[in-house]
């Protein structure tokens, strides 16, 4: 047992850290550090900077732009980017549809889509959830029927993150209604510009626009946009969700937020002393740090165990990472609420591009994002398989209950 990184890994960390430091545009970094939402342009710009370096899809196979890094290197890379204030990559492309395409897609699909994902020439969104099919995803009702040499898609998706920017959506649709529900689903790629696709915004409780409803009304899609085999879509979806493991714990993001909490808590904003000198607050902060340290170690153990596992098979340990990671993210947002105090109260909306209005802020200039972040992060224990569903997986897959 040795908890230290090797010299090579340490050197690699320095390299990544240095790259982020000298290449991440300051304006983007500032938004992330302040808890504002990066705009589409920010994500595109940063992805292209990474792609130029050959780092936009490091976990992919080498022939499609991957780096061949070890799992530990990938972990270090993600951690450094998250801690360095970089926007998260658009996971729908790089971690979801990309791996599905290079694992199950046709050669034509690989050549057509993978380079464009790596350079974010296409913006992808995920069309899985429906009003009636959330945790019970296999209960989905959207249909795809073959008609005149095309797929014709009808139905509705919901909670579709950032569909307002999307060029493409990957859809789970029912192609056989006569069999067990998991066995009649297919995985289809749909151009968002197709006639019959309508996107309607859903405002989240923090006032932001990150999710949408997407309607399909007789949308015609070429047959070749089916990924893999017809009616095998559920397997690909399970593969995709299992793949999210990389970075699911968001350790780097929580580390960055704790660092910011310490900084802000050191300012003397109100009351008798800076918040950091308040013993009760310090104990709460330390308690979250303990949880995060434990999670970081757990994540390293999972990654180390990866070497011995069958490739591509979901690991129930990722449920441990998801549950704890989401709880810690939420806990950090509560600590920020403690730091800001009463000036969490004013509501000051953000512009679409993430810049503030010209008016000076009400209260400290860093205060306005704190309550919205707390509200918004309630989502992390709901999406990507809710924490209740994750507990069910642990009970079944780890404990055999």
């Amino acid at each position: 047992m040795d908890l230290r990184f090797t010299d090579d890994e340490l050197a690699f960390r320095e390299e990544v850290r240095g790259f982020v430091k000298s290449n991440l545009p300051a304006s983007i970094k500032q938004k992330i550090v302040e808890g504002r939402h990066p705009g589409k342009d920010d994500i595109v710009a940063w992805t292209r900077i990474l792609n130029k370096k050959g780092w936009s899809v490091p976990h992919w196979p080498k022939e499609w732009g991957g780096t061949g890094w070890s799992p530990v290197q990938l972990l270090i890379f993600n951690d450094e980017l998250q801690q360095g204030g970089a926007p998260e990559p658009l996971a729908f492309g790089t971690s979801m549809v990309g791996p599905v395409i290079y694992t199950f897609g046709s050669d034509a699909q690989k050549r057509r889509f993978l380079p464009r994902i790596a350079n974010i020439d296409d913006w992808w969104c995920q069309g899985f959830s429906e009003p009636g099919a959330g945790s019970d995803l296999a209960g989905l009702k959207t249909t795809a029927k073959q008609e005149g040499g095309e797929w014709v898609i009808n139905g509705q998706k919901t909670w579709t993150t950032l569909a307002q920017y999307a060029d493409w959506i990957f859809v789970l649709a029912r192609t056989d209604g006569t069999v067990k529900k998991q066995e009649g689903i297919s995985f289809i790629l749909v151009d968002m510009k197709s006639p019959g696709v309508t996107v309607r915004p859903i405002q989240t409780l923090d006032g932001g626009h990150e999710v949408n409803e997407v309607f399909f009304d007789n949308v015609r899609v070429p047959l070749e946009n089916l990924v893999g085999e017809e009616n095998k879509g559920w397997n690909y979806a399970k593969f995709l969700l299992g793949n999210e493991r990389n970075g699911i714990a968001r350790v780097g993001i929580s580390k960055a937020r704790l660092k910011r909490i310490r900084e802000l808590a050191s300012l003397h904003v109100y009351g008798e002393r800076p918040k950091i000198e308040d013993p009760l607050f310090r104990m709460k902060l330390a308690a979250v740090e303990v949880e995060l340290k434990a999670l970081e170690m757990t994540q390293l153990r999972v990654i180390a165990g990866e070497r011995n596992r069958e490739k591509g098979k979901p690991d129930p340990a990722s449920s441990v990472l998801k549950i704890k990671g989401s709880e810690i993210q939420q806990a950090t947002s509560e600590l920020l609420m403690d730091v800001v105090g009463p000036y969490a109260l004013p509501y000051q909306s953000e512009r679409e591009d993430g810049d503030r209005w010209n008016e000076p802020p009400v209260g400290p200039d860093w205060a306005s994002t704190i309550a919205p972040t707390y509200f918004n992060l309630r989502k992390v224990s709901i999406y990507g398989g809710s924490n209740e569903i994750q507990r069910g997986i642990i009970a079944k897959a780890i404990l055999g209950l």
């Binding site: 859903i202 989240t204 109100y270 403690d338 009463p342 969490a344 109260l345 009400v362 224990s381």
Partner: protein
């Protein structure tokens, strides 16, 4: 021991509940919130008509002689409906200061028009640096002949943007964090030297930042001239904590009701999600949290009239801690048990969660009151 309401109190509860059920659907609330005031003047008039605005004042002053229990009943109903009107600001805070701190002439001049709904007030007390410390007052009141001249900045003035008059705390003596030397002054919101910046708050209510530049106050508008207003401020803030505890209990019970309804109707895997034992137990824990909160709301209500300030403040802090904790648990879990739909602006639940979050921040959050309580001689004994 008696937790029963009197016949009049039951009538009051029924009438406010009925009015809000008729007029305060969540859809209507959205309309009120989008209007220029951010709340409904029409409903404010109706509150006056059925006596809600006057009930807490004595009959001699032009009210109906009610007390904390009446305020609790009204606040709980407002919490359930997420009412946006300036009840806490005008009636509980500023109205309370006048009720307990005004002289006979001031009470006679103001209370009838408060009770009739014509006069809106706000309490301009907190400042950028004061946090939860009620004694932290930097604004100054300089004597000039018989009058005073006020200077300073006030922040987070609840419903300060629509108020006709402000009750401003300012210091005539002492350093910023001294307990002595604070006075209360009645200022016309449109007076020379008063500027206001109104804004919405996270929970959809309204507040304002207020700047005072050489604002003249005549002797008749001085509420506590001797510079010893802190005990009065503490007392009224304790009453406001009791009232907002009731508002929180109303919001919590609504969140729980909505969640239980949803557990019964939302189906996944072919069954109502309420059939999953994990969710049943969570909902049961929410019931426990709500009952504990409701009990402490009652304690706060009864103790808000206690003359012994030390005993009163202990009970109020204890209630604030329990309410804050229950509200956090119920708010978070009600969203969790709803899944995605709980995260949306279109649905009432998220707004209950936001209001509950902001009530915890108002007048000192749970940690602040826990610390205060830990420095007392103990709650039990």
């Amino acid at each position: 021991m008696n937790f029963d309401l009197t016949e009049e109190q039951q009538l009051l509860k029924d009438s406010v509940t009925r009015l809000l059920a008729d007029r305060y659907s969540f859809e209507n609330r959205k309309t009120f919130q989008a209007s220029p005031d951010g709340w409904s003047r029409d409903l404010w008039r109706q509150y006056a008509e059925i006596g809600l605005l006057g009930v807490a004042f004595s009959e001699a002053d032009g009210g109906f002689g009610g007390g904390p229990v009446e305020t609790m009943l009204i606040s709980e109903a407002f919490g359930k409906a997420l009412a946006l009107e300036p009840y806490l600001a005008t009636i509980v805070l500023a109205g309370g200061l006048i009720r307990r701190g005004g002289d006979a002439e001031q009470r006679a001049a103001l209370i009838p028009s408060i009770a009739s709904g014509e006069l809106l007030l706000a309490f301009a007390h907190a400042e950028r640096q004061s946090g939860h410390d009620l004694f932290d007052v930097g604004a100054s009141a300089k004597k000039d002949g018989a009058s005073f001249v006020l200077n300073g900045e006030k922040g987070l003035v609840l419903h300060g943007d629509c108020a006709d008059k402000l009750i401003v705390s300012a210091r005539s003596a002492g350093a910023r964090r001294d307990k002595a030397g604070i006075g209360l002054f009645l200022v016309d919101a449109k007076a020379d030297g008063v500027s206001r910046r109104g804004y919405p708050t996270q929970d959809g209510m309204r507040a304002a930042e207020v700047t005072l530049t050489n604002v003249r106050v005549e002797p008749k508008d001085v509420l506590a001239a001797n510079g010893d207003a802190l005990p009065l401020i503490e007392r009224i803030v304790d009453e406001a904590i009791a009232a907002s505890s009731a508002e929180a209990v109303g919001a919590m019970s609504e969140a729980l009701d909505m969640t239980v309804d949803y557990l019964k109707t939302r189906k996944q895997f072919g069954v109502p999600i309420g059939s999953f034992q994990a969710l049943q137990h969570r909902a049961s824990d929410m019931v426990v949290a709500l009952e504990q909160a409701r009990s402490m709301m009652m304690l706060a209500t009864m103790m808000s009239a206690e003359e012994n300030a030390a005993e009163r403040r202990k009970a109020i802090s204890a209630a604030k801690v329990q309410i804050g904790r229950s509200a956090r648990f119920i708010g978070q879990q009600s969203i969790q048990l709803h899944g995605g739909i709980g995260m949306t602006m279109e649905y009432k639940l998220g707004h209950l969660f936001k209001r509950l979050t902001m009530i915890d921040i108002l007048f000192g959050d749970a940690d602040y009151h826990l610390e205060r309580l830990s420095k007392s001689d103990g709650l039990i004994g």
